[in-house]
Symmetry: D2
Subunit: 366 residues, 4 copies
């Protein structure tokens, strides 16, 4: 059935952390060895591992034996190593260079016949360009934000919303006992999936997402109305990329004695400050941050990751290069890498899920 | 938009426990009050609450305020109360009677204009018959086993596989440290969804499901081969309804001094006994049992339950009686109750998920 | 055995949130009713509930039936209501008044014979003064920080370190995969118990606590040495009250368009900024914040809370007023309220636990 | 300070699984290397690893890097290998032999200067005898049941009660919704610590422990009284070693076609059967089994394990052989191995904890 002459594949992971990376690696290694008799090389720290020496090692059964339930990636990752625009310092000055030729040489010298890359937008764009240079390559999509149009759902997302929901459950009892507005900032720079889903799952009163610019006045009004009717606590779940209508709000922070003196505060912090100072209702923010990216993957994410890992190896075996595996419920399918990276999946304000949230009284601040 | 004259609805839950029941109730109550201005009556202990007095009470906002993350059902449930075949004792003898006329009277006297029932096969069958008698009724499907053909996935299932996977994670470290075969029996009388998914998610070596009758000899062989190659521990996940080719295996238990002296042991117990006695590899069973049905629902289940609760109330508002809400990814949809209850969703041995499990070396004992 | 004429007691909770408050209330209500036949009044929002009308209600069995595993307090809390220095506004100006006479009247008019207060320093100081005015009163200590000298351990602390450890477990995998320094700020303004225990439990590399002022240079040195020897990730757990030798570090934040324009950043944020800018190792902070105060209490905290609740009611029954229950392992004991609030329990830098941490290579930044 | 000439130590783990074993190993390895410059040999599968070849390997930093939060033991364990009564088969017949001379030779040939053994009764008894033969040895106590008189608390116990409490939380919602008596069997053959603590922590109605033989009639009475007063659900937590007054209850199970045809059922199963058949209240049992022994250790257990591991290495360094480390709150201390293994710690029916449980209405079935 297989029309390829693959004897050895390389696997790498790129971009930010995401629960399920190890489960993808495990499934791919097992399938490659058991089903196809291939060898597998683990490439460390993303594409960086294909540009310098000593960052590749054989991946055997034993290496993936205990990693199904582990967060992180045993291969390490890197946000920065782009072989086409490799940045390094010469005499203290930053230089950019196209190192893709080195990468191609490396693949040849390591006798890697095909490449499987697990990563987000950035990583898959590089994969697409490498495929253009003739590298037999397949991609596995990774974004904790679930904002990829070409797949129904991405691994890690289910874990992230469970982690966020768990944190929100903890915060809600405090909000209720102590009559406070709790603002909880979750991930989601361009798409509000985590805020929307964790917000519904935790019974949030207000959900703020990038797709639906909010009105500060509306938020004040809701909270004041709640206080008037005896509900002194409120939970606001806000995506990090949410913004008020008409522009961004900013906190400048001055770090004393520090080189990069000023940096911006987050939307959660700003909202809590504003609510406290403008309508005099005690408000506190919590920024969930990195805990959303870590930890043991949920059952769903382990299964999805396993299926994607198996699916990616099958793509390679079938010679279906230049493609990305994806979930088309209920099946694993694939799309051209080109399509995969071109379109963001955003929350549709008119969708049934948003309507359901509104039906039970959730406000989106508009 | 709404073409009904509903002023008050009744809600009841029937059948076994399932995480998410309260989330459905909460969403329905909120939607009914906020969107349609209806009153809601909570009917207790399934259909039993429509046959006797004193088992109904108004459901207000306050009753559903804190139940989103609670297991169980605030309405109580009953496995037995079938109004069409109501069983009771007269002079010590069990009598069966059709009490549906009483139920219809009750609905009228309580001024309940429409009914929303949340339950499994049994409950929905009754709902279908009541609809035939002219009761404006809609159903919400509930089965922890996820074995309903008319919906992509049922609430509670995601929680159940997370609970099972968590338990399996705990058991695996013991299996490895102590060189044992651990047999873990999970729910699934007619369909093996929990065993399949929790098995993949936990890295099980052998998964046994009703849809794929197993060979004992094959299991012995795999374990012996694993021992031969230095893998002294194995994890077997078995659905309670799994059976060997050609028939059932049975343990008879004699309870001393007990009226009903003999009862049957479960498949997990039998397998562990057999493996210990036949191939002399130390084996232990764990029966997960009721913990799979309880506890706080996962984020996914809370969201799905919320959407189904909103969707069911909308069906009522639209006058779409005699139907059941369901998930047709990514939307909430509905089907006639008639179709809803007629077909079991079983694991397809040739499906991509089963193939993926096989690709990474999982055996199904065949 | 009992020498008191108590017929009704009041219970209130004061101060910040802490897992186990509800378990104390439940145990006290059950013991009061079952063992002594007393009535119980639940006073809402701390001492506030004894100063205004309509903030007290009977506490019956049914009210405490389902609260053992719930975070928060069903009685509500308030950080501000001090009857001896009650603050309120007259014509927009803040006025302070001694309202203890009103409180005494209230107790009498509500026929509350004795008071049980659950709270921290502030709440117990008020209790002590009320006892001086003749109120039959006992205290139950509450501090998430575990910094009370007169009891071995306070409820809520075990839950807090489990929550922090769970978060740190999630963060560690990301740190390792992505070669980062992760700074995690936990609670502990004056004492470093949470940082110390969660730090050891999570395998932190550096633990910074108020009791051991750190040297920034030492931290830089450790991280650089770790990088040199191939350990590119490090975990720093820092108590919010930790400080460098010789003074505080400060971030000023300017909130644009905000009345109270400037507020201070936390130590975690400062440290991550400094490490990134000074030694150019990528560093991120996470501030765990309120999630440490919420959620279902751990088994240990539920048991301890139950024992303290029972013990406090027994003190009342024995007429042992003016005292606070405490844990003197393995028994529940009591101390005069006077002693209870006078001394902070701090981490001893020479203690066996700190030495054990050092023995396995943990640095305290000194 | 150290008066020993140790250059290399061996570590082994024996007996049943217990969360925290790996944390002890990690702390011991780190302390041995960092504080004393020793080498460490990991001995596999308990004393078995000192009797056969190829079961020992160097333990380096890298081996213990990621094991703090892992259940099980990286060294493996064995319940059976007693060097003084080593059992093996000759021509199909079981022979017992004293192989301690072989063990002593092995220690010498591997240049292991001292031994640290982590285990329960059996393992520590062997350690004591080996010490009598001149082996420099220290012990670390391990029993999930917490039934060792010579230490305040043993690691793993806190994790076990959290696991049991978590399972009981799940089961309670089902019990309540479905009006059932749920019997949950937990570990504790000779002492009822887990049942007592998990029972209190989960709000159980009846707790049955070996130290307090119960009356079946009393249990029936309580359940019937509860039903009479509208509380149709009850939770019974029973230790596996609990028994009725006057003797054991037995279920015989006949395994068809099986060599060892009959085995005994557990107390949980018997109780549920009896309650269903005798007083006709629907009752179900859940046997928690091995999940109590596995999983990631709680924060408390990780810290206690770390302290014990450091403490045991210090005992070796000080030449304090023949002793066992223990917790004497709040310090780590030590006792002679001889004393350590001689006395069981049982639940005192008159203790404050049992009294507290009774005060809130828990019955012990007497």
């Amino acid at each position: 059935m297989e029309n390829t002459n693959i004897k050895k594949i390389g696997i790498l992971t790129g971009g930010g952390d995401c629960p399920g990376l190890n489960a993808v690696i495990r499934a791919a290694v097992k399938t490659a060895i058991l089903q196809y008799g291939w060898k597998v090389t683990g490439i460390q720290d993303g594409f960086e591992g294909l540009l310098v020496d000593g960052k590749a090692r054989p991946l055997l059964f034993d290496h993936v034996k205990d990693i199904l339930d582990k967060g992180g990636t045993i291969l390490g990752s890197s946000n920065r190593a782009n072989p086409f625009e490799y940045k390094f310092k010469v005499h203290g000055k930053l230089v950019t260079e196209d190192r893709s030729p080195i990468l191609l040489e490396k693949l040849q010298s390591m006798e890697i016949d095909a490449l499987m890359v697990i990563g987000g937008d950035g990583t898959l764009s590089i994969a697409h360009r490498l495929h253009g240079l003739g590298v037999p390559i397949v991609g596995v999509p990774k974004t904790i934000d679930n904002d990829l149009a070409s797949t129904d759902i991405t691994f890690g997302f289910d874990t992230a919303i469970n982690t966020a929901t768990d944190a929100l459950d903890k915060i809600r009892t405090t909000a209720e006992s102590h009559h406070r507005v709790m603002v909880v900032e979750v991930m989601g720079r361009y798409a509000g999936w985590i805020a929307l889903q964790a917000g519904i799952a935790s019974g949030a009163d207000i959900i703020l997402i990038p797709e639906m610019p909010f009105k500060l006045e509306k938020i004040y009004e809701i909270i004041k109305e709640r206080v008037r009717t005896g509900r002194h606590s409120s939970i606001i779940v806000v995506a990090e990329g949410a913004n008020p209508e008409g522009g961004e709000m900013v906190i400048k922070k001055i770090v004393e004695d520090s080189a990069d003196a000023i940096r911006l505060g987050g939307i959660g912090e700003i909202l809590a400050d504003k609510i406290s100072s403008e309508i005099h209702v005690e408000s506190r923010e919590t920024v969930l941050g990195h805990i959303q990216r870590g930890g043991t993957p949920s059952a769903f994410d382990r299964i999805l990751s396993t299926r994607l890992g198996v699916g990616a190896v099958k793509l390679l075996a079938e010679g279906n290069f230049g493609r990305m595996v994806c979930l088309r419920t209920p099946h694993i399918d694939s799309v051209p890498l080109e399509d995969a990276i071109s379109q963001l999946k955003k929350v549709d304000p008119d969708s049934e899920v948003v309507q359901a949230a509104k039906a039970i009284g959730v406000s989106f601040g508009i």
